[in-house]
Symmetry: C2
Subunit: 596 residues, 2 copies
Amino acid sequence: MQFWKRSHLCGDLRLADDSSRVTLSGWVRRRRDHGGVIFIDLCDRTGLTQVVFSPAASPEAHRTAQDLRSEFVVAIRGEVRSRPEGTVNPKLPTGEIEVFADGLQIINPSLTPPFPIEDEEDLQEEIRLRYRYLDLRRPSMLRNLHLRHRVTGRVRRILDEQGFWEIETPLLTKSTPEGARDYLVPSRVHPGKFYALPQSPQLFKQMLMVAGVDKYFQIARCLRDEDLRADRQPEHTQIDLEMSFVEPEDIFEVIEGMVGTLFSEFLGFEMARPLRRMTYAEAMLTYGSDKPDLRFGLKIREVGDIFRENEFRVIRQALDSGGVVRGLAVPGGAALSLKQLDDLTGFCQEAGAGGLLWILFKEGGALKSPMKKYLSEGEVAHLRELFDCSEGDCLMLIADQAPTAAEVLGRLRLKLAADLKLIPRDRFEFLWVVDFPLLAYNPEEKRFEAVHHPFTSPHPEDLELLKTDPGKVRSRAYDLVLNGTELGGGSIRIHREEVQEQVFALLNIKREEARSRFGFLLEALHYGAPPHGGIALGLDRLLMLMGGLSSIRDVITFPKTQKAICLTTGSPSEVSPRQLKDLHIGLTVPRGEEQP
Amino acid sequence: MQFWKRSHLCGDLRLADDSSRVTLSGWVRRRRDHGGVIFIDLCDRTGLTQVVFSPAASPEAHRTAQDLRSEFVVAIRGEVRSRPEGTVNPKLPTGEIEVFADGLQIINPSLTPPFPIEDEEDLQEEIRLRYRYLDLRRPSMLRNLHLRHRVTGRVRRILDEQGFWEIETPLLTKSTPEGARDYLVPSRVHPGKFYALPQSPQLFKQMLMVAGVDKYFQIARCLRDEDLRADRQPEHTQIDLEMSFVEPEDIFEVIEGMVGTLFSEFLGFEMARPLRRMTYAEAMLTYGSDKPDLRFGLKIREVGDIFRENEFRVIRQALDSGGVVRGLAVPGGAALSLKQLDDLTGFCQEAGAGGLLWILFKEGGALKSPMKKYLSEGEVAHLRELFDCSEGDCLMLIADQAPTAAEVLGRLRLKLAADLKLIPRDRFEFLWVVDFPLLAYNPEEKRFEAVHHPFTSPHPEDLELLKTDPGKVRSRAYDLVLNGTELGGGSIRIHREEVQEQVFALLNIKREEARSRFGFLLEALHYGAPPHGGIALGLDRLLMLMGGLSSIRDVITFPKTQKAICLTTGSPSEVSPRQLKDLHIGLTVPRGEEQP
């Protein structure tokens, strides 16, 4: 009719198709004019076929081919031929053939694109996002889109096979601010009222458990109006699931099975199951992080006991004020220069510590350390044994309050691993971090806050502590961590109303406030709520790690910038006064104050 | 740990499990105390098992069972036994067995629910939505959720197998009002600016085609701030797809294959393919509707030619002013009383006609009609032949301008079919309506509007008419219609920028306005846009029809009311002044003006 219908895709043809007549369509990637004969690379999402125009085959097609430029959309007709010896391209699946064209149809011309549609280009992200439809046309980006499609499809099948039902929960819902800010949507029909976009389907999935759904999942869109950091997006997607009549191990089994299958099928990586479980306490102590990267060592150890009698001022002060001394050993670290050690000390100070203590175990048994004269032989022996230090290594110590020591050493550990190139690529170290604290005290607001969220169940062994020492109560929350990145987290929820009210009270959420914000959930707990729990995995992060990519923006089709702008469409943008009037709102800033 | 883990689900057990020891958990649906022995129906989403507590088996369990009330969550342990003769329930998959419990654990008690969790109950929708988590627990609603899960899963697999990639498009996007109103989301980071929630992924999926994705789909959430009618929801879900290098027939093939598979696998209905195609012109003429219900006849015919010489005033006036005379025959309609005919006339007048003409063909050959004396024998013979009328039938005619005649007769046809019970149940009549007009003239605003949307391609044969007679231009838009309901629609899109600009000009969308609203799409068309087209099917409507339900709210988990309220969560609701301040907006109505 208007254009020739293709008989094959650009990645289809092989030597077996030799002499076939074919019609292809796609984008002209490159054109080479070899004195009378014109070659083009014709591309679509499946690959690339070399097409040859010679005046002998068709003077007309050859003439038209002279007008071809990059990214023209064309259809060609011709005959498949094996490539002459010496011109075979073994890197290309179609590299053994080419198509001799005797017909050419220009379906749509193209302006010269702002950047070549090639993988090798090191492009500015701003221009990529501005012309996202061209950026996505690059083979690597099409591959990312395809991976996302295949992974989500596989996730759905895995969960379906286990009896999970995918259920859509509303996008226009109620504002129940907790943690991040809600995006709000003014109601036109109800003046002065607002919907909120969901930060997660949390409350809905819990109601689904009350409804008896038993096993729910959703590849769910979540929106959070956060102050954006690198690799945060206003909207992200999570693999969200919830189950009834379960304990944490039931959730772990589902997730390990699912993630294991994905890594095996898509990456050929066989995950050892069951995954390691580590308590929050151990993770904080040994790795200074609740999402430890286990691809390398540099384990942190408590050494306060060794220094019980030590008189070095910094150590004495820390221990006497209830603090800790912890450290890690750096293999080969004795070679660090004073300048390097100074820089590391600066790093630790920026991270919140008073300073950094170091002990270099030089070749030949000599020690070098600012606290050298305070170190007894016994202490040194103990330290070397504990850290398994050899000559040539270095010990780094922080003496401070426990949370600061953990935080600083955690960061130092990551920095040293990066600086010293201790992180193996192509390795996947998963673990579950369990037994998070239920509550964290916010000294500024002088109140407890939920570490996970206010619906997380306290650890059954710690129920009594709720009344006596709430800060010590462990929760039934857990995180799945991969290579130092939190892939997701979840918890067993509170299913009994009296426990939920107790937790709200500890969080200083007043009865009335709780009713107005979460009343519907509290009410649901009255009517036969089963024990239930779940988890949400960040799909974008999972795909980023699976794809070996450095930014989640490479697996999101139309991402926003760190300033929450869509450079492709230019949103957010101004709207008409009429639209605002309809919504019963006005601006508290002058219109057009900020230009895009 | 805290509760006994179930060994089976409540719908699992059969006679073959006789004498097995099992642990079940679920909800107590009914409790019957038969003098010393207590029976309960224990339910979960898979079904129901009868559980028996006798003092003999366990005095303790029997004692606790006396406290059970409806919707308590419990776990029981016991032994499966075949039911005694005479107590087998053949309607129940588990009806041949019961479980003799010797252990009972009350996991969570329940208040008496506001309505019984049963299918037979004829409940007020308001209370169902208020306690949606209980409403969904009813077996029929769980079945609807399950159907939705299975259908969307099947749709995804069908499209995946054909090479479609599911791709998520943004929820926070740009306001490009066209048709319905956008829901807006104020930006906190960019004062005075707004995101819009997507009315459909239209612009994004077109950009994906420019990107070379070739075959895209998405089970997409769409939000429209419309004035709500019955069976409209602020948010709905569509099966959205788009393909490159296609013509309408390619889209039809995909959709017919998909819908055919769904109806065959889920309903055992074998759809005859290819589906019927009907032009918009024919549909409007013959059925007075662009979504004709083909489950019954009552076809409308043009009869102006027959009445060329007729002098009856109403007919004369219509024909002389360029109008039409059209009618339909009602089998057995001669039995209609004058009162009934008066009522039908009133109905037609309300629908916009001046009146209704009728001709009753009485038994014995007599005619009854207000225009009897103006009817020649030749006219009567022609009419009877055209409509294939027998004695006992009735002819109903409208003489008016063509659009009014179509509209009124279309509505009259549906009313007659309902009144006379001519609509067979359990029948599915699909068709494609094609060749919609591209533009419709809006006499109030004195401008053309897009019938489909402004990116719809004109019919290639009508390109010249764009300049000379735009109202006559057909588009390449199409609708899929089932039993008089529009299941969805789509079109081949404009892929060349000069055509897109021409259409914008006809729609009186100025160049500048077009650039600021759709500039990114116009720009994308510059860079090698392939020919492309697609369609979106309303998932909620499809499921409603597949489930034989009368409301889309029965297939939406947490629907809004017609006033766009979520009765479960109480959204929309007021938000704090702090939240508004953060968003740089104020209310133009007093706070709390409207109470929920």
